[in-house]
Symmetry: C2
Amino acid sequence: MASMKDISRVCGVSIATVSKALNNHKDIGEETKTHIRQVAKELGYFPNSSARALKTNRTYNVGVLFADEAMSGLTHDYFADVLDSFKRTVEARGYDITFLNASKNRKNRMTYLEHCRYRGFDGVMIACVDFSDPEVEELVKSDIPLVTVDYVFCNKTVIVSDNVKGMRELVTYIYEQGHRRVAYIHGADSAVTRSRLSSFYKTAEELGLIVPDEYVREAAYRDTKGAGRATKELLKLKEPPTCILYPDDFSSFGGMNVIKEKGLRIPEDISIAGYDGIRVGRHIEPQLTTLRQNTDRIGAQAGEKLISLIENPKTTIVEQVVIGGEVYTGKTVGRI
Amino acid sequence: MASMKDISRVCGVSIATVSKALNNHKDIGEETKTHIRQVAKELGYFPNSSARALKTNRTYNVGVLFADEAMSGLTHDYFADVLDSFKRTVEARGYDITFLNASKNRKNRMTYLEHCRYRGFDGVMIACVDFSDPEVEELVKSDIPLVTVDYVFCNKTVIVSDNVKGMRELVTYIYEQGHRRVAYIHGADSAVTRSRLSSFYKTAEELGLIVPDEYVREAAYRDTKGAGRATKELLKLKEPPTCILYPDDFSSFGGMNVIKEKGLRIPEDISIAGYDGIRVGRHIEPQLTTLRQNTDRIGAQAGEKLISLIENPKTTIVEQVVIGGEVYTGKTVGRI
DNA sequence: GGGATATATCCTTCATCGAAGCCATATTGC
DNA sequence: GCAATATGGCTTCGATGAAGGATATATCCC
């Protein structure tokens, strides 16, 4: 690989001159610049990011901490979409992304923070992770530019999907379709779940819906079995709901199957709605009614804000960006 | 950030000694080593990968080239699964992964190869990409350790899903269920599509199935609309097929919807099968019959082989690893 | 107008980032 | 005095930035 040294030798100038010419400093003659650039091209020169990073303390590489149960998050539709959008955004600005979440059971493993220092990430995006993990906390408390998604740490920029508004809109839509007995199978306890659940109750109250305790159940996120079980219980009630909300789109498939097994039709006999707006929901039959989160904007904002934190280290603006979603009406909530 | 220099100052030894102690060279006294290690820990020392890479020419970072239409591949179930498995494998061996496929429309953009040199990747994994892209070709021809998935370049290690065997097993299964009129909506022309298509024809011939030309149609990969259109055409035939194969699971949903619209039942009136074995197919009703590709093994093998190429630069073993899948019987192919 | 000083232009030298390896050197025991 | 062991000095990787030097031109005063 050709380095600046090679160019300097060929051009008969010092290495520093080459550096300046390639970085377009103003104190190098136009002619020299042109010549150096041309030789650089001819030699197939390309900067070495390690060397550059060593000197400048900037890697143009950001870490992504993105772990679900499987420590990956990649197979997680919602977060994969967010990541995808994040990736496109930062890459357009010249940053690369590297995964930060290595398998925890490796010996000699680094903590997240150590990993960041090791790789010299300019910043980190955190999402879809166990936010109570002490390692995450350590990372968040460090001085590395950092943006979180869907979880609020004080003094850190965060992009949150508007779960309160989302749930309100979804429940309101369902109400408007005539439903008065709405059940909610919510996800396992988390910040996201709590906002949705409280918004569910609040909206129900505002609309005058009565929500008996037995209408509120729990199933893990993306757990079709658990959602199916809860659905079964709901259907057995003396006064079953006319519409069931699920923790997410995926788990609603579990409910759907149970409903079909019982010989009930969606949405004629019972209505359901998911949450997230994953792609496949729009392609199955009947199309899933859901709240579609704006993963595009969430990821893009996370990218923008992170880069802005990186590039303006002085102005420590801590922002809380709330991104609204929209009801995707689909076909699984019927008119009553 | 504490560096070796700091440790050397505190311990009163030279930087070289610190380096050797931390790297466990045998020519440092046990006592010194212990002390240095302890001080290192106290100071919160962590190696700087840039500095190390500069000197050793090893980054312990591998590039991943993984682009679908959206230049990402992340939102692509099959490849996201492969990537996930690949990631876990290489991370367990101490490597990080960084995406190589930056948006093509950026100015000052690097080619893939340039990007690799810039970041000093130890190796590259390529999948889900336009293999005819000259940039990809340039990369493949370089001397960077490289593994491809599902596309064979000569003299390069490749992990391929066994499309020939997979299609044969799928068609055979369908045949065994009594189907004699099987249509195949295949994907747009590509190496993968070609293997499946020829295997389809071959198997059909072996089994004595007659495949009229009108039974073979095309729809883009994961294109529900196209698949729906093709399905509609197939259903209009004087002698419509009793089973339709799709390019992939996702596109089969498009077919499913058209079928349901026509008032036909799956599998009682017509059978369908996908290909890939994406998770959601097992959770919808009826469960999708498909050929489940072994993404876990594909990703893991890609990781193993890549690391082996990296760590044994002399033995240039070029391997072609074929990974079989399995028929997931599901419920969408009925007995006739 | 001539010499002296200021200024701009262009480039080089030097130090530096953090780590690693070669080779030299110091210490110890025998 | 020699081997074995332990440690340090210097250089290198590739790039950058501060500071300074060389040259040419502009400006000034007497």
